[in-house]
């Protein structure tokens, strides 16, 4: 009996003192403890590929670890909401991207008020902008963009494109393409870029627009052929592939990836975070680590991002409005 009592006392004391230790609030510089970086996508995507090196290098400049936490679900909304509703103290950041814009604007266009919106965040910076490219299976008879356009025009509604999912950036890329040229195609959505590319490589779709990051290795391995790039300039690792602009219409599509924080984060904290982000994107370790996303590493600072984000939202909203009108009835 006595033994039990003192044992219990010891344990209680232990737990109690543990809590004391952490509650110790000496005012020190931000950050005092590890920072959480919410990734609203499932592990292993482009978000992770950029966020994790960022986290590793940022630790150098911040002095405290940055831990990436995946909170996937509802096309990213679960993570977005968690990020917006987190305490605005700079210890919880969220990975912002075009996916956010799309999913939030879609709500707006359909007359619903999204639970969080752009103005619930303050922009910290951009890590990269990844463009999409138009690819066809390697065995396809289409060797140039002109071939593709001609063939598709000749047989309306006979050709299929696959996408990584409805309203994903890669889906938008294909939609921009077909609308710019006035084409009619069938669309088969898949669950993610991997399955979409697998389908294309196997010849189960006629074309697709996927991120350069994932398409280029397959092109080099002769599993598919990239016809054109949906970016303002050619991509360095595939210098022979023209941009859409060069061959006819200016069709651009891509996804930006960056960091955002909850909107009421105090200004000095935001400044510090922006500073660190800028430093990281110039850090050679980081640049080396994402060399393969390489060419289009455009970093922007917080203010640039805010403007860019607004512009993007406007532009995407136009496209989404068309979808809504034509009855791409998603979540009716």
């Amino acid at each position: 009996m006595k033994r039990n009592r003192s044992f219990i006392f010891l344990i209680m004391a232990g737990v109690f003192s543990l809590s004391l230790v952490s509650a110790n609030g000496v005012k020190a510089e931000f950050p005092e403890r590890p920072i959480t970086l919410i990734n609203p996508q499932a592990p292993g995507g482009a978000n992770d590929a950029l966020a994790r090196p960022f986290a590793a290098v940022a630790e150098k400049y911040l002095g405290k670890p940055v831990v990436v936490v995946n909170k996937p679900g509802a096309s990213g909304m679960i993570g977005n909401i968690a990020g917006a509703q987190a305490a605005p103290d700079g210890y919880t950041l969220t990975i912002g991207s075009t996916l956010m814009t799309i999913v939030m604007d879609w709500e707006v266009i359909n007359g619903r008020k999204p639970e969080v919106y752009r103005n619930d965040y303050v922009s910290i910076g951009v890590l990269s902008v990844i463009p999409t490219v138009l690819s066809v299976p390697y065995g396809s008879s289409w060797k140039t963009l002109a071939d593709a356009v001609r063939e598709i025009k000749g047989k309306p509604s006979q050709y299929t494109f696959c996408s990584a999912g409805l309203l994903s950036p890669t889906h938008l890329g294909s939609e921009r393409f077909v609308r710019a040229y006035g084409l009619k195609c069938r669309h088969v959505p898949y669950k993610g870029g991997g399955p979409a590319l697998t389908a294309l490589v196997g010849g189960h779709a006629d074309f697709t627009t996927q991120f350069s990051l994932t398409s280029i290795p397959l092109a080099r391995g002769n599993k598919l052929r990239i016809l054109a790039v949906q970016a303002p300039a050619r991509i360095k690792s595939i210098p022979d592939v023209p941009t859409f602009k060069e061959t006819g219409m200016k069709v651009e599509n891509g996804m930006w990836l960056g960091l955002v924080a909850p909107k009421n984060t105090p200004a000095p904290v935001v400044e510090k975070l922006r500073e660190v982000t800028a430093k990281v994107t110039k850090d050679p370790t980081y640049v080396e680590a994402i060399r393969d996303l390489g060419e289009e590493v455009r970093s922007m600072d917080g203010n640039e991002l805010a403007k860019y984000w607004d512009q993007e939202s406007e532009e995407i909203s136009k496209l989404l409005t068309q979808f809504a009108k034509e009855g791409l009835k998603i979540n009716p």
């Binding site: 499932a42 592990p43 292993g44 995507g45 992770d48 590929a49 994790r52 090196p53 986290a55 590793a56 670890p65 990436v68 995946n70 909170k71 996937p72 679900g73 509802a74 096309s75 909304m77 679960i78 909401i81 509604s157 006979q158 299929t160 999912g165 409805l166 309203l167 069938r186 669309h187 088969v188 959505p189 898949y190 669950k191 991997g194 399955p195 590319l197 697998t198 389908a199 490589v201 196997g202 010849g203 189960h204 779709a205 994932t214 280029i216 290795p217 397959l218 080099r220 391995g221 599993k223 080396e288 680590a289 994402i290 060399r291 393969d292 791409l328 009835k329 998603i330 979540n331 009716p332």
Partner: protein, 504 residues
Amino acid sequence: MDAFIDLYNGFQNALTLHNIYLCFLGCLWGSMVGVLPGIGPLAGITLLIPATYGLDVTGAIIMLAGIYYGAMYGGSTTSILMNIPGESASVVTCLDGYRMTQKGRAGAALFIAAFGSWVGGTLSVLGVMLLAPVLANLATKFGPTEIFALLLVAFLLLGSLGTGSFLKTSAMVILGMLAGTVGMDTLTGVYRFTHGMRDLYDGLGFVPVAMGMFGIGEILSATEQSMVREVYRPRLRELLTNWEEFRASIGPILRGSGIGFFIGLLPGAAHILSSFVSYTVEKRLAKRPEEFGHGRIEGVAGPETANNAATGGAMVPFLSLGIPTTPAIAVIMVALLIHGVRPGPLFISENPKLFWSLIASMYLGNLILVALNLPLIGLFVSLLRVPFRILFPVVLFICLIGTYSINYSSFDLIILLGFGFLGYFFRKLEYDLAPFVLALIIGPLMEEAFRQSLMRSGGSPSIFWQSPIALGFFLIAGVLLGLNIMRGLKSGGRGEKEASSVGS
């Protein structure tokens, strides 16, 4: 043969002390996260990525791969001992594995699981080594139409999982498929059965459902009976299989390796099917299939081998095309990218040293794992000696935290509890749980593949008979259906419940 020379060099590279150490760490870590229910290879790999920054790329990938297939070894432990599937692929192991534990043969089950896992893992590495490029091409030939045909075969096999009446098993299959439709339909963006709850947009989630129905349901049932359960005190001899059991397992292990490897190759979320298909195949081939579900060792040997073989198979599309087919491999890919290595079709030719070191380390890793897991059998079995009234709260606790850690979502915990109740409920009513849980996965996949095929063909059903692969599977499906009907007519619609213990 060239391959073996390269392999030899790969071994030289992989067998540096440093790399062996990393391989060991990876396997150890993988086993640990595999044993913990809910936390799977994905979490394990994700957690260790920061640790790999300081390593060279060979060491990093050796370690991460070790975690990946290591977790497959650990996943069967809780399935066998406590009827709690450690992760999706281990659900089928619960069926006979747990029964064996209840009969006092836990050690044998764990042993054959470890042994089968070793054989399956090693054979699949052999497959990767020799056949990767060829198989990758085969895998890409599986488009929606072919996948639908394959899943149709799997669907027809679901009926074999039941030990009760045909009607009841069918009911569970349909319920499972219905439960699988919850969430956003990826093809049209329409939400089904979500009632506006954002947490349901992505569906119910296999792990909370399976852990809930099997594990929590089991606990809830068990606490209804007395708190003092019979404790088995196995002797050393009983920690291993006896000769008869071992001999019976050889066939399932060999077949499981092939089945698992092949299914692992395929794109899509079909990996859990590897253990499931192996189980149903073994059941059909057995002389006394009605004993399955009551503690046949083939029901553990086959599936466990298959799910380890599937990890090897899953590496094939990744290594030869650069496309990850499971989330865990996707994370490994990110790790490679961070180290400056580009996965893709040219991965093998551009990084031969890395590739062969990886292959060599996979052989090594499988050996390490079996060496790690065998002695632990005694330890695990002795866990069963812990009085139930201490054990079950701990198990509840671990399941809760494990489930939470998947998506950091409390809603998943609600699903866990809810399905725990359903598991308890169905047990009382004598309905089988396994068909439900597997239909949960197969149903939506089948529907998606079917509709994708029709979308591709613009609505014309001719696409289904234009593909030779699909036709092949349809043929198999037809044969299976015929067999099912014949059997159904013979036994008059009743099940195989003869000398069975109640429920499952």
